[in-house]
């Protein structure tokens, strides 16, 4: 453990940094928009009526609070620590992503923006954005890599039904990072009337802070629920990490609660040693991409490497800057799970608990599958069940050698 005292943990600092990470590495044209966002956000953070509006939508539109569920049969099967699931899969649109978009769309309206744009990988953030745009009557454009459009046809159709325009991105690796490049290009062109709803705790300041705060509802609820359910905070909290928004949402309220161990699980793809993965915290170097300084998968010339993961939502070469900082100070432990381990856990949870998890989430499950049997029954583990797996049917079927 490298950290000494976390009582004063209050990041980002005034420059938008988490230690050396974060910042605002964007083109000059976007600076004004970021500063405006920063100003408006600082204001609404203290504005009671705005916060009440967010809470009202989280309750009535999203369906919060999400339950804390005891996975009794899976616990018995693994024979060790008690396993609980924080059921973000039960949210409206089926994942934690809506927590952020519900808040950001209200921010967009506060700034008088008529148009929202977003990038998406698996399509969950795209759907969550299209959903709130429909609810508020805003124009909505979603950027999605050509390859992901093929992988996630169902979500593409959902977005279209919700009235969003889905723009296919065919540059670079044709996945999430390129969708983000294209969203940035749109934003710089339409900066006056457009709000960019970034979907993860990534990008330039103040996005990592905003997205974290809106997702922190997950950790805040867990604090109350765990006390009620088992009389204390969890011993271990586990979440999957791509950009890292669901993990940051559940971790952040617990950062100062150092008795609770926090574990983030990255996408190990074919294995971290194979080089075919999406685990920059396990096997990356510090660099600058998408407006932030953070750990990145890159070669010696600073070119961003293409990533590999069975889950489109984790298929990203970077990670939110606060995760980079929490890794370096040792407050959060970062592990990885391979495609195969994640797929196995997908099936395990589906058959044992009747809950079909997203492939992203399955990475967190795979880690718990490994450690729970070694821990005593008195210990409690909470997994952020960040999304449901319906969207992954085609991928799972394909991996299992089936055609639907």
């Amino acid at each position: 453990m490298k950290y000494k005292n976390l009582n004063k943990y209050a990041f980002p600092d005034k420059e938008g940094r988490f230690g050396e990470f974060g910042g605002k590495y964007v083109s000059e044209t976007l600076i004004t928009a970021l500063e405006e966002l920063e100003k408006v956000y600082a204001k609404v953070k203290k504005d009671k009526s705005f916060q009440e509006e967010v809470i009202k939508d989280l309750n009535d539109f999203v369906g919060r609070p999400s339950p804390l569920y005891f996975a009794e049969r899976w616990t018995k099967k693994l024979g060790g620590a008690k396993i609980y699931l924080k059921r973000e899969d039960l949210n409206h649109t089926g994942a934690h992503k809506i927590n952020n978009t519900v808040g950001q769309v209200l921010l967009a309206k506060k700034m008088g923006k008529k148009r929202v744009i977003a990038e998406t990988g698996a399509g969950q953030h795209g759907v969550a954005t299209a959903t709130v745009a429909a609810r508020h009557g805003l124009e909505c454009i979603i950027f999605m890599g050509e390859e992901d459009i093929e992988r996630q046809a169902l979500n593409v159709y959902r977005m279209k039904l919700l009235g969003a325009e889905v723009c296919s991105v065919d540059s670079g690796t044709k996945t999430l990072k390129d969708a983000m490049n294209e969203a940035m290009r749109d934003w710089v062109t339409n900066v006056e009337d457009t709000h960019y709803i970034i979907g993860s705790v990534a990008g330039p300041h103040p996005y990592p802070e905003i997205v974290r705060d809106f997702n922190s509802i997950v950790g805040k609820e867990l604090k109350i629920q765990s006390k009620k359910e088992f009389g204390k905070y969890p011993d271990i909290i586990v979440a999957c990490v791509g950009g890292g928004s669901n993990a940051m949402g559940i971790f952040h309220p617990f950062i100062k609660e150092t008795k609770t161990k926090l574990v983030g699980v990255e996408a190990g793809g074919s294995g971290v040693k194979s080089g075919k993965h999406a685990a920059p915290l396990s096997d990356g170097k510090v660099g600058v991409l998408h407006g932030m300084k953070t750990y990145l998968m890159q070669d010696k010339n600073g070119q961003i490497l293409s990533t590999h993961s069975v889950s489109a939502g984790l298929d990203y070469p970077g990670v939110g800057p606060e995760h980079a900082y929490l890794r370096d100070i040792g407050r959060v432990e970062y592990q990885s799970a391979t495609d195969q381990q994640a797929l196995k856990s997908f099936h395990d949870l589906t058959k044992t608990e009747g809950i079909m998890p997203a492939l992203e989430t399955s990475h967190a499950l795979a880690y718990v599958n490994k450690i729970a049997p070694k821990l005593p029954k008195s210990k409690t583990i909470v997994i952020n069940l960040s999304g449901r797996g319906d969207k992954d049917m085609f991928t799972v079927a394909k991996e299992d050698g089936m055609t639907l």
Partner: protein, 261 residues
Amino acid sequence: MTRLEKVFNKKETKNKVLVTYTVAGDPNLGSSKKILNDLIASGADILEIGVPFSDPMSEGPVIQKAHERALKKNIEFKDILNLCRQIRIKNKNIPIVLMGYMNSFLSLKNKLAKELNQAGVDGVIVVDLPYDESKSFFNNLKKENIDLIRLISPTTDSIRLKKMLASSSGYLYYVSLKGITGAELKNFNEVKNKVKKIKSLTNLPVVVGFGIKDASTAKKMASFSDGIVVGTKIIDFIEKKSTPKISNFTKSLKKAINSYG
């Protein structure tokens, strides 16, 4: 006097400055070198050489593809430095400015400024390094007399502009539109007013770029600035495999910008 100062020093030359942008290694290193030498021969006053990057966020489709073509040839930073060195051997005076993204420059770590200097590079433009994040980078480059060229955009307000001007050198690059390279330039008067405003606050030369694709626009832009930058249109010739046309196009630009008023 630095090479950049010499080019802009109006006592020596009454000419407006023509800045060209091409991507190093597009379509390959050999052609890249030939194109750069042709540009010099046809009137380019400053060479902006793009450092190809996997995620060129501020570029329009034409320049994006140029980055991709160069990366397909596995262009590395050391190749780009070599290319600069070769240009420098033949031409002692032409200023060379590398333009790229922060992660590429970071890859050279603390050797960057020295390597740039040794390769005969005069300045650097880092698209995703705004003033706010640039202090130590600027100071490191200064030690080796490398100018950090600032980009100023239509959204830069005057308070911010004044702060930026306090740590600027070489020249200023006014981005004529809110958008990506090669986009449609719509509001000519807005550009004119903004450039006038900048010039009232500084003695540094101001060049205008983004969206200039023909001689007549170039001429208009040069009438109130110190020079213009043309990239997309030149790269368009490379993409269409008609590089021989670049020389005549460059000559036409040069002629146009010096026939203002």
